[in-house]
Every structure is written in structure tokens, then in C-alpha cells.
Amino acid sequence: MLSPRNLESLEALKSRYQSPQSVILAALWMWQDEHGWISEEGMKYVANLLGVPYHHVYGVVTFYTMFNTRPVGKHKIEVCTNVSCMLRNCDRIINHLQDRLNVKLGETSADMRFTLVEAECLGSCGTAPMMQIGDEYYENLDETRVDKILAELK
């Protein structure tokens, strides 16, 4: 289910496009914001809501990397490892995070607080190395700054 407020905004969004199918990403974002990840139930719900086949929603969800197709930790930490960040030692940041969180790249901590993943270029090359947590960008990272950021996460 989506909240009544989200359903209302989705309805308003539909009028912006020739086809209601265009709001599929918006609907999936809403589902992910409310539930943390997009389950089969979520995909079926969105399919039903927009009047498109389930397989179509499945195809879309699995095409875009930002949709979580399984549960993730409360804080999904995404570290950019592409060329500019690599040149500025993102490996050190990843190693440090793996040690501090006691998880490996791609894993979620047992208490479901953290998921650590590597990301493709996040458009922050001038402030490398960097990571994204939620909507926030954390740039010009070193080990001390990473510790401070982790301590401030609720």
C-alpha cells in the first residue's frame, strides 16, 4: 500500500504525461521510501495501480540500480569507486568502512543498521573520495571524517 498522501500526489503527477505509465519511477520511489525496498508485493501493487502488467514493473525495477530488490540496512552507504575516486584512494575509505561496520562490500550488518555498497560515478569527482548516504553526499573523505559521519548517523 502507498499512503493516501502519496496516492494523491501520484494522481496529480499523471496529468503531466501523455501516458500514466510515465509515473512508474515516481510510484516505485514512493514505495521504496515507505517500505525501504521493493518486494514482489510492491511491484504487483504498482502494476495494479497503473494498469500495466506485473512483468513490465519487474523489468523496470530490475533495470535501475537505485531500486532495492531486497531489504537493506537503515543506512545504505554507497561509496563511489569510479576512476576519479579511485585515483584519490577510495579503497582506503572502503577498507575503513568494512572494518568499522564489520561488513564486507555488498553486505548488510546483522542488526540491519548498515548496508555497504560500491557505486558508479556519483558526479562528485572534484571532491573525491566520496560517499552517498540517503540523499546526502559526503565529500573529501578521510578516515577521521568517516568516523565522525558514522557517529552522527542515528
Binding site: R16, Y17, Q18, S19, Q21, S22, V23, I24, L25, A26, L28, W29, L50, V52, G59, V60, F63, Y64, T65, M66, F67, T81, N82, V83, S84, M86, L87, R88, A119, E120, C121, L122, G123, S124, C125, G126, T127, A128, Q132, D135, E136, Y137
Partner: protein
């Protein structure tokens, strides 16, 4: 001009107090074809990577049609080494909005969609605030400034796919499909969004439009390199003292960009290599940089391309095999999977490069790698295949010794092992 140093310029009040939206007013008093002509004569070329003449692209839109016409603003910015459009979103969003509305008026588009990559949600919210303010002042919406012209501007959030920066994939994504590029022709101006005439422009390209109207095409066309004029946002990253996005005229020497804008190489080391325009552009040797300028012709002559002007600097200690392996992994991950040469080829290139990275490659692997790259280039629906092949081809061509060293070391360790047995 694109990113002037004015505090709070992102707010509509400050933007207006510096002459903001006056060019929209001026544009609405002109005939649409006069604006297209002005942009054509200015020689503005697209800033999204392909350098296509913007005015010419606009003129492809049919004048008479019973279908709605659309403008898509490409803010998907995902090319590794590129981080310039984000600066416009954050520091000068109204310049982009003004340019977008002028473009809509010039082409007769009644709707513009600004597609921004999903990871930039923080900036999407910033731009949305600017768009809301522009609606409130009647710069967007019904009967703009009493001119009788109406258009809308909506933001559309992506969800993580580099390929959606390819114009036809972007349209498919907007239609709620997987982001698959379309076969061209038909071109978007004839058959775009929902089969209607559509133009797709990069964020920075549209931000140049109010500047052209303010200066006039003649003055604008004299900024920087004659065949690729105007201000350009250059992102410098990698081994430099002051990385960042710098605004400059086109045609500045790469060596000056590195030394004067980006503070030189860290520790005064020698430059081993640069990627001049984002990860898709061909890599250049550090000793070949003398005289090379940041514009379409300058970089073409040097055997590369201006791309998105994302300059990645690598010092003498850089492991270039590691660099090209990482770049290739990116294209392998981002290939949409429609075309066999790209879907399979990027994976094969990645596997082969891993052999080099791990000192497991043999003599024939260099030719094999080049063969795979050559069989991707030109054999795919969209340019992602080329974008994956060019860095590999240029790395082999210009840094063949790096590959050979890896092969020799691999052979040495095999010999040592055999001797031990």
C-alpha cells in the same frame, strides 16, 4: 557567465536583480525563428558530449504539426569524471530555467521535462524550489508574461542508469519503460516522446541560451575557440591540488587548465596521462599535451574528444591498467543489454583486463582485447558501445608498453613456477 560569483544567485530575487529573466522577456518579443537563427549564428554546440550545433538541432523541429512538441532537458549527468551540471542546479538554476523556457518558445514546445539522475535528489529538490518560484512569477505556465505563450516545466527523477543520458533511452525512461536506446532513424525531432516531435538538450547547453541573447550572437561567437565558442564548464579531477569545476572560454590549453585553474599536479609530479572529456574520451599521454586546447577541434586534432569536458589527471605513479579495468567495469555494468556486441563485449573486455591487472595475461591477449573492442565499435544501436571501446583502444595504442610489461611479468612468474617444480 554560467557560474558568476554572486552570493545567493540561486534565489529568484537575486537572479532578477542581476538581470535575470530579462532575456526571456526579450525572447518573447522576438519571432521564434529569429531566436533559432540567433542560436545558429552563435555557433553554440551541445555541451552534453557530442558537440552537435544547438541551433541546427532546434531547426529540425517541424513548424507545422498537429502533435504536441516536447523539450527534454538532459540532466542525467553520469559520465565518470563529469560533475558540471550539478553546479548549475545548485548555484544558477534560474539560468537553466530561463534558457529552457526560451528554447520552448523558439521551438513551440508546450512542455519541457527536466530529467535528473536519481542520485541527485538533493539537487532535484533545489531545482524544484527554483521552478516553483519561476511559476509564481509567471515565467512558466499559462500566458507567460502576458505574451500568450504557455509552456510547462516538470522535473523527472531517474533511478540510477547511465544509459538514460543517451537521448532516446532518456525518452523511453520518461515513458515509463526500461531505459533502452532506440534505433535511429526516426530521429527525435520527427518521432520522439510518445511519437511526437522532441528535442533533447543538455543542461549546460540551455544555460548558454540567455547568455547568447544578452551578448548577441556576434559577441558570443567570438568567445574562445571560433568553431566551438562560448563559456564552458571544465571539471578537473584526479591528481591535482585544486580539483573542481572551472568556467572558462573554450580553447584554453589543457596544461593551463591543470596548472593555472587546478593548482598543478600534487607533489609536482609528472603527468602520465589525462582523460580530457569524461571516461568515454580517448586517453592522452602526458608528454603529448603541449599545445592541446579544450575545444572540439583542439582535442580532435590530438586524437581525442572534448566530450563533457571532464578532465581526469593521472600522475606518473598511476597504474593505468587498473584505471582502464575500472572504466571498463563501468561500461560492463551500464550496458543496457540490447545489442550483443556491447552486452557480451564489455564483459569480455573486463575479463581480459582483469587478467592484465592480476598478471595472468599472455602475449595474445593484447590483440584479443583490441579485437573485441574493434568489434564493439560501430556495431551497436547507441554510442555506449563506442564509449566502451574508445578508452580501451586508445589505452592499447598509447600505452601499449603498460600491457606488455604485465604480460612479461606474468610470463616470468610462470617460468619461475615451472623452475621450482
Amino acid at each position: 557567465m554560467l557560474l558568476p560569483n554572486i552570493s545567493e544567485l540561486h534565489t529568484i530575487a537575486v537572479y532578477e536583480s542581476h538581470g535575470g529573466y530579462e532575456m526571456l522577456r526579450k525572447a518573447l518579443s522576438m519571432k521564434p525563428e529569429e531566436i533559432i537563427d540567433e542560436v545558429k549564428k552563435s555557433n553554440l554546440r551541445g555541451r552534453g558530449g557530442a558537440c552537435f550545433p544547438a541551433g541546427l538541432k532546434w531547426s529540425f523541429m517541424p513548424k507545422k504539426t498537429d502533435k504536441p512538441k516536447y523539450l527534454c532537458v538532459n540532466g542525467d549527468e553520469s559520465e565518470p569524471g563529469t560533475f558540471k551540471d550539478r553546479q548549475i542546479f545548485e548555484f544558477n538554476p534560474h539560468l537553466l530555467i530561463e534558457g529552457t523556457i526560451i528554447a520552448c518558445y523558439a521551438m513551440g514546445c508546450t512542455m519541457a521535462y527536466l530529467y535528473i539522475r536519481g542520485e541527485y535528489n538533493k539537487w532535484i529538490k533545489m531545482v524544484q524550489r527554483a521552478v516553483d518560484d519561476a511559476y509564481a512569477r509567471r515565467y512558466i505556465g499559462e500566458n507567460i508574461l502576458g505574451s500568450g505563450f504557455s509552456t510547462n516545466l516538470y522535473l523527472h527523477r531517474g533511478a540510477g542508469a547511465y544509459i538514460c543520458g543517451e537521448e532516446s533511452a532518456l525518452m523511453n525512461s520518461l515513458e515509463g519503460e526500461r531505459g533502452y536506446p532506440r534505433v535511429k532513424p526516426p530521429f527525435p525531432a520527427q518521432f520522439g516522446l510518445w511519437g511526437c516531435p522532441t528535442t533533447i538538450n543538455n543542461v549546460e547547453t540551455l544555460a548558454n541560451v540567455p547568455i547568447i541573447l544578452r551578448l548577441g550572437w556576434e559577441t558570443y561567437s567570438k568567445i574562445g575557440a571560433p568553431k566551438h565558442p562560448g563559456p564552458i564548464l571544465v571539471g578537473v579531477s584526479g591528481h591535482v591540488n585544486k580539483p573542481g569545476v572551472f568556467e572558462m572560454p573554450t580553447g584554453v590549453l589543457l596544461t593551463d587548465i591543470i596548472e593555472k585553474y587546478a593548482g598543478g599536479v600534487i607533489g609536482n609530479k609528472r603527468i602520465k596521462a589525462v582523460i580530457p572529456g569524461g571516461s568515454s574520451t580517448m586517453i592522452l599521454r602526458g608528454e603529448d599535451l603541449a599545445g592541446v586546447t579544450m575545444d572540439a577541434d583542439g582535442l580532435k586534432a590530438a586524437g581525442s574528444a572534448v566530450g563533457t569536458a571532464g578532465l581526469v589527471v593521472m600522475d606518473e605513479d598511476t597504474d593505468l591498467i587498473k584505471v582502464i579495468t575500472r572504466i571498463t567495469k563501468f561500461y560492463y555494468h551500464e550496458s543496457c543489454g540490447q545489442c550483443t556486441p556491447c552486452r557480451e563485449g564489455t564483459g569480455w573486455m573486463f575479463k581480459l583486463l582483469k587478467r592484465f591487472e592480476n598478471y595472468e595475461a599472455s602475449e595474445g591477449d593484447i590483440d584479443l582485447l583490441l579485437d573485441v573492442a574493434n568489434n564493439i565499435e560501430g556495431n551497436t544501436i547507441c554510442a555506449l558501445g563506442d564509449a566502451a571501446a574508445w578508452p580501451v583502444q586508445s589505452m592499447i595504442k598509447r600505452f601499449g608498453d603498460e600491457f606488455e610489461k604485465r604480460v612479461m611479468k606474468a610470463a616470468e612468474s610462470v617460468r619461475a613456477e615451472t623452475a621450482a617444480v
